[in-house]
């Protein structure tokens, strides 16, 4: 690897200390190129610049992000889950609804494959020295479908609307403790500042596609989104019929390259099996999101392509740290040692997942400390821990969970594995409504159960997983885990702007969580999208978004 220091020095001159530290990390080999690209995109460095630095540091050219251009004019047909409620950028919470909304409305930036943040309505962004103020530069010449130009006022109104507790905002749980109403400020028509409650090194993800409510709509928006479907996206609404489907046509006034398809059609299904049959029967071209167990028939079907995205989505197995036999960390570790994670990844998840190491730090995160040893099945050690905890003869306990995806099968596997250390696990598998209940302590099987398994969707950064389910005051702390050291570390991680600082803190958190094991993270499952052969240029994200502007059909 030949490094071109002259070019590197030239590039360094205009950069902040934080950016230069990241560049130094790449040059010195402390940061991998992949992590450099991902973290550089978070700091607001453009992809061409990141590619230039990477080349000058001797890593060769970056692979082109541009995909082969297919033939224009197709109608792309997508099978989607039914939007669970009226489509409104403020309240929307389900995959079906946000998929429809995302066809017409755009984010400031997009959390793309490999978690690289890509500019969209914002051209660039950067933090102040301590990460309490993030400044976003907006793209000029972007028009809403209704005609007006997208400017800072629209961004301020859109984000303020989401941060206002009076608005039933589904993004409020993301912004709580980070961004308040009124803290999004217009600097000029094309510059917006976010003044945060506390330093946050990952803030751009909170206003990216990672926060699926954070689409930019006109400042004048007053509700009734289904009447306008106004946005800035490459497609415009043609027809929307609640519970049935939606269709879109190309937006000829789009600020970027015009979409290849003439039309897209979304057909709503209430279950995945009819979607699979529709794909096999030639009635749709794409299944946006396909659970691995339900879609086994398609995984090896030669007429189908599977787009598999590594994600941080997972099933959290929480164990109550404040009561009963699970109060002892040795017992929790013993249970975690019973899991055969290789079998989970290869068998249960058909090879479409990555191993979990009992912390939210999935392999996809650049900050994950990969030097922490992977926890493996060790029944002998588990028995020793049970003996040491004084429960060598075992005990009986109930695992409560939801009937969703592969969770019931996962629970049965755990039930079988913990028998080896004398634990008799009774399964209480509930309908999702019964499991979550009112989703507040005291009124929820999820938050009150002794043991439980809960599905958590993908996030581009681990901030939410680190705070809500694990911090002492976390609103989703089903494990009732209270540890001051952990709280300090999590706060420190969230505040860190520097990748190496994040990684160092991540390592400490990973070690602490392995010791305490309030939650078992067995595996992180891949996000699967199925397309029929001949459909190309489809770009899903693990947040259930589907970008079809470069899609074509053979």
């Amino acid at each position: 690897m030949i490094k071109n220091y002259r070019i590197l020095d030239l590039i360094r001159r205009g950069r902040s200390p934080l950016e230069n530290h990241l560049i130094d990390g790449l040059v010195d080999g402390r940061v991998s190129r992949r992590d450099f690209i991902r973290h550089g995109s978070l700091l607001g460095l453009s992809l061409p610049l990141l590619g230039g630095i990477s080349t000058a540091a001797g890593f060769g050219m970056m692979p082109s992000l541009a995909r082969a251009q297919g033939a224009p004019g197709a109608t792309i047909r997508v099978a989607s889950s039914v939007p669970a409620a009226t489509i409104d950028p403020v309240t929307i919470a389900d995959a079906g609804g946000l998929l429809v909304m995302q066809q017409v409305a755009e984010f400031l930036c997009v959390d793309g494959p490999d978690l690289v943040l890509q500019p969209a309505l914002a051209e660039s962004w950067k933090p102040n020295d301590n990460g309490t103020i993030w400044t976003f530069k907006l793209r000029k010449g972007v028009k809403f479908h209704s005609g007006g130009e997208m400017k800072a006022d629209d961004v301020v109104a859109s984000i303020d609307r989401l941060a206002d507790p009076a608005n039933s905002s589904n993004a409020l749980s993301v912004f709580t403790g980070i961004l308040q109403k009124g803290a999004t400020k217009k600097v000029d028509d094309y510059t917006v500042e976010f003044h945060l409650d506390a330093p946050n090194g990952n803030f751009p993800y909170m206003v990216s596609s990672d926060n699926y409510n954070a689409v930019i709509v006109p400042a004048s928006y007053k509700g009734d989104y289904e009447k306008s479907f106004d946005g800035t996206g490459p497609f415009k609404i043609e027809k929307y019929t609640a519970k049935v489907g939606a269709s879109f046509v190309r937006n000829e006034d789009y600020w970027g390259p015009k979409a290849l398809p003439d039309r897209t059609e979304f057909t709503f299904f209430t279950d995945v099996q009819p979607m699979i049959l529709a794909l096999q029967g030639g009635q749709v071209d794409i299944i946006n999101q396909m659970p691995v167990l339900a879609g086994v028939a398609l995984l090896n079907d030669p007429s189908v392509d599977i787009i598999s995205l590594k994600s941080s989505a997972h099933q959290q197995l929480h164990m109550r740290c404040d009561d009963g036999p699970l109060k002892d960390a040795r017992v929790r570790r013993a249970i975690a040692l019973c899991l055969d994670r290789d079998k989970l990844a290869a068998g249960l998840m058909k090879g479409r997942s990555a191993l979990g190491n009992d912390s939210p730090f999935a392999a996809v995160y650049p900050s994950t400390d990969t030097s922490i040893p992977q926890r493996k099945q060790d029944i002998a050690q588990a028995k020793q821990l049970m003996e040491a905890a004084g429960v060598g003869s075992g005990f009986k306990i109930t695992l409560t969970t939801e009937r969703y995806l592969e969770i019931p099968e996962y629970a049965q596997l755990i039930q079988s594995w913990v028998k080896a250390i004398g634990i008799e696990l009774e399964l209480n598998i509930l309908d999702q409504g019964a499991y979550y209940g009112d989703a507040v302590f005291g009124k929820s099987n999820w938050l009150d159960s002794v043991m439980g398994i809960t599905d958590y969707g993908h996030r581009g950064v681990p901030n939410v997983y680190l705070a809500a389910p694990l911090k002492s005051d976390g609103t989703w702390n089903a494990a009732h885990f209270k540890n001051k050291d952990y709280d300090t570390l999590a706060t420190s991680y969230i505040a860190a702007l520097d990748l190496e600082a994040q990684k160092a803190t991540a390592g400490k958190i990973q070690s602490l969580l392995l010791e305490e094991t309030p939650v078992i993270f067995g595996y992180f499952y891949d996000y699967l999208t199925a397309t029929v052969k001949g459909v190309a240029g489809v770009q899903p994200t693990a947040m259930s978004q589907l970008f079809l502007d470069k899609a074509s059909k053979a």
Binding site: K243, D271, A278, G437
Partner: protein, 296 residues
């Protein structure tokens, strides 16, 4: 009852809409906007007083009037039920009649046992098998019952053939068995014997004397199945992506969308009542003793 039953289910409307991970302040704000934080009696009175005036209220989930959803779904369910009836009633009765006329012969056994066998198969099993055969492998029929916009009458029928086949299989054995037993009883009756001894042609005996009496219990059975065909097809509607009233009620129950749930259930109740009334009317048409108000 529906309203009270819904209240004991865990969760609330705001939570159902915003999901388990939403901030509690957002959930409270939404519940307040929707008016579901008012006392239960107030909510119920508001809904029922509007319903009796013809206003089904506004859906919590879709934030738009309930009536168009219920009427569209009811219309769709009736279309599917009609296609299923048109297929199964004549064929089922014919099967029963043929079985009875061939009592204890191989044809009788094939119809009786075959009908019984397919009746006990759940709709989702037969539905998937039929989709695989006619939709995926042969590609003769669309596997989704949702027809394209602006589809004409025959196109709609074409889209309804496949979803109506599992219903045909469920009901065929039932109707055929009832027709068969009615026929056997009628064939063995005194009036049939008298008609034969009078020298009437066999065809006249069957049409005028046997069938008319034999079909009475079958009509009752058909009428009782109307409610099931219109309101109880959640599995079929899900499998074939059909917007019927069964799936509408199911979705409303899951989302705690009470105006939609209550209006949907009340509508199905009305359909049941009307179907039973029509059955009684037909029964009286076919049985003069009932029409004359005597059991003589």
């Amino acid at each position: 009852m529906v309203f009270l039953g819904g209240q004991v289910l865990p969760g609330n409307v705001g939570r159902a809409i915003l999901g388990p991970f939403a901030d509690q302040r957002a959930v409270d704000a939404l519940n307040h906007t929707l008016g579901v934080d008012r006392p239960l009696l107030t909510q119920y009175w508001s809904w029922i007083s509007n319903f009796v005036q013809g206003d089904m209220g506004t859906s919590y989930i879709f934030r738009s009037p309930v009536a168009p959803f219920v009427m569209d779904a009811l219309g769709n369910s009736m279309k599917l039920a009609l296609v299923a009836f048109v297929l199964v009633v004549p064929i089922g009765i014919l099967g029963g009649v043929i079985a009875a006329l061939n009592l204890n012969r191989p044809l009788d056994r094939i119809i009786s046992l075959g009908g019984l066998s397919v009746t006990v198969l759940p709709e989702f099993v037969t539905g998937i098998i039929l989709i695989l055969i006619f939709g995926v492998w042969l590609r003769w029929l669309p596997i989704s019952a949702a027809w394209p916009k602006d589809a004409g009458f025959f196109t709609q029928i074409y889209y309804l053939i496949l979803p109506s086949l599992p219903l045909f299989l469920v009901l065929f054995g039932y109707i055929a068995r009832m027709a068969r037993s009615g026929m056997i009883e009628a064939l063995d009756s005194d009036y049939t014997r008298t008609a034969v001894l009078k020298g009437l042609p066999w065809r006249t005996v069957i049409w005028r004397h046997v069938l008319r009496n034999a079909l009475l219990p079958t009509i009752t059975v058909i009428a009782t199945q109307t409610g099931y065909l219109i309101g109880g097809l959640v599995v079929i509607e899900t499998l074939f992506r059909y917007q019927g009233i069964g799936s509408l009620i199911f979705t409303a129950a899951r989302g705690k969308d009470f105006p939609m749930l209550e209006s949907g259930i009340l509508t199905i109740g009305i359909v049941y009542a009307v179907a039973t009334l029509v059955a009684d009317f037909l029964y009286s048409v076919l049985n003069p003793r009932i029409r004359l108000g005597t059991d003589q």
